[in-house]
Subunit: 200 residues, 2 copies
DNA sequence: CCCTAGAAACCGACCGGTCGGTATGTCCCT
DNA sequence: AGGGACATACCGACCGGTCGGTTTCTAGGG
């Protein structure tokens, strides 16, 4: 007998189909009928597990953000020196982004399609992520480990801009592996934040 | 008597309404009926000037890209030293991005909704922009003006990622003016590309 | 300067089809 | 026998696009 599944196989298949189609065609461009055909379930099954089409979008966001928040807390909790923490964080972000490329595409493009109640829940998570990282940068700037060439707020916004745009150009069969991209992004960001430049 | 208008006022109003609504609700989330109501014209007028709803999207992209390509060519054509060229270019990009914030939002989010023929035309423009900038970076790297901490290709992708993400967080009433943001972005990018770091 | 005739600009009712969501039925496990 | 897990049939609203018709503009002959 299998373990009691906390989420049913049907539920998982529906979410996987939804994220694939939303990434390819957009939220409004995908009909519920297409989702149930891709998942090989019926419409009744979908509305048994989810309140609405919008609920699917929320679940996609929620699981992605939960994973990213957990990664952030874990890495910052290790107490590494700032430069190494940044390298670890970017490596982890590249892993997540390339592994969940459809989820990130949907996250970036279809955020504004969430209804107001679900939007607030997601924005709270995103804000916590943003503030946590910004405070980490501020702290390293005060300690002299990072330059203040740009404010911590701007550095945070620019970094997430770069990361979130990756699904637009990254291709799994492309010339660069995720770890190589992570190394270049880390090198780029750490060069920009190198305190030695300011002291010249 | 007014000059002969090359584009009619009706045509302009339709495009302005379309870009506003596409930015707010997405392409598929906006009906043609909503566009004609916002523009205070009739459906007949819209289909007199445009082939289809998709044609509206193409016109929005085409005018934005034409402007950005012209700006890029003009600035690189001035023959400024690389660091000053980057500053001028980012200042211009910030101007365009903050002035055409709805256009850029649509550009980033709804690109994949273009039909195949129009998509190819837009991709050709975008590729030219990308290649032109990458070759500029490569050339400055060979001359020793920019570091090779990240490849010219990656620098190009990361910069446009940062820029294109700006409409997600920039607010006209926000604390920072476009010129202040441009200064921070320039400082950040030029710090990352400073050749002095490599020589230590 | 006016009249006319064709072209361009514009109107809005209408169409076939698709949408997200629901109501109700059936099966099977406990 | 009762309830969770689905299946099926169906609804009214709305979609992008069309089309025959009307108004407005403009060029040129008298």
């Amino acid at each position: 007998m299998v373990e009691h599944a906390r989420v049913s196989a049907v539920e998982t298949r529906i979410l996987a189909a939804a994220v694939r189609l939303f990434a390819e065609q957009g939220f409004d461009g995908t009909s519920v009928q297409e989702i149930v055909e891709e998942a090989e379930v019926t419409k009744g099954a979908l509305y048994h597990y989810f309140d609405s089409k919008n609920d699917l979008l929320f679940e996609i966001y929620h699981s992605l953000l939960s994973r990213q928040l957990a990664d952030l807390d874990r890495i910052l909790g290790e107490g590494l020196p700032p430069r190494e923490a940044v390298q670890a964080l970017i490596a982890e972000l590249l892993d997540t982004t390339t592994e969940c490329i459809d989820e990130v595409k949907v996250y970036v493009r279809e955020m504004h399609k969430l209804d107001q109640a679900r939007m607030h829940a997601i924005k709270a998570d995103r804000r916590r992520y943003h503030v946590t990282f910004r405070e980490f940068v501020e702290s390293a700037q005060r300690a002299g480990d990072f330059s203040t060439v740009a404010s911590a707020e701007t550095v945070t916004l620019l970094l997430f801009g770069m990361i979130n745009d990756i699904p637009q150009w990254y291709r799994p069969q492309g010339p660069k592996a995720p770890s190589e991209i992570a190394a270049e992004v880390s090198a780029f960001l750490l060069a920009a934040l190198d305190p030695a430049l300011q002291l010249r």
